[in-house]
Subunit: 145 residues, 2 copies
Amino acid sequence: MYTMQKKAQATTSDRVPAPEVNFQTCPFLASTGVLGKKWTLLILWVIALLRIKRFNQIRRSIPGLTSRVLVMRLHELEKSGHIEALIVKESPRVVEWTLTEKGTDTIPILMSIMNFTIKWYPDEVFGDNKSHTMNELFPETEYPR
Amino acid sequence: MYTMQKKAQATTSDRVPAPEVNFQTCPFLASTGVLGKKWTLLILWVIALLRIKRFNQIRRSIPGLTSRVLVMRLHELEKSGHIEALIVKESPRVVEWTLTEKGTDTIPILMSIMNFTIKWYPDEVFGDNKSHTMNELFPETEYPR
DNA sequence: CCGCATCCAAAATGATACTG
DNA sequence: CAGTATCATTTTGGATGCGG
């Protein structure tokens, strides 16, 4: 429960949370880093939660994502240290993409997003229209922190 | 702690988490909704955590954000039900933007992002280079869930 | 000053085909 | 299989203006 919500007699002079945080320069929030770009979180979800490691498998698991954008995002994520490429074999080339420690630390973000989505967009993410909770879906996972 | 990380003898036939979730259609992850677009989370941060409600104050608090994009995002966020406009006065028009319940539910997402950022990008978000934790920064807030 | 519209340039992304 | 190359389309940036 957030205590910062407006109470009956609350005024606008309530404490401003964490003014010492330069939120404007957060690479994700400001979309200056790869995490703020289109398709990135979906790609991370696939690698992190579905454990899909291969280029074309990732692409096929995300309808609408093209090779062009996928290869851009993978290389950006590699450069930013979220994922690593393991060259399994050359000619025909086989590459496996896996999370680094930094990439693993994005999982709570993905979880908090999905937690929001299953509450506000259940029709979009469930075929059966039943209500679901994160604990039901990810029973062995503590999230998001 | 996530139990889905690879253990020594783990194989790729480990359980795939939550196959019943159509993650591809999550509006945020897929960037089909406003939350996935550039500047949106920064705008929500300002309204939610800094409690800034006015158009030009929001704009000035986010360097680089133009009127054009701000007005687009505010109206998109209004349409999607994350924020509400309160017309305080006409001529000159004064509008106050505040979070709805749905918008309030995005705060855990913002928190998990900042939690990630203060770990991996401390130089970008702190001026003093000291180490910080979320509990230190948001003492009265339980987060992210 | 306020919120917001218009115009045009630049950047990001989509579609399709192709290569080692 | 894992990417490239090319071109069309969409989204965003920047300047400017405008009625209240």
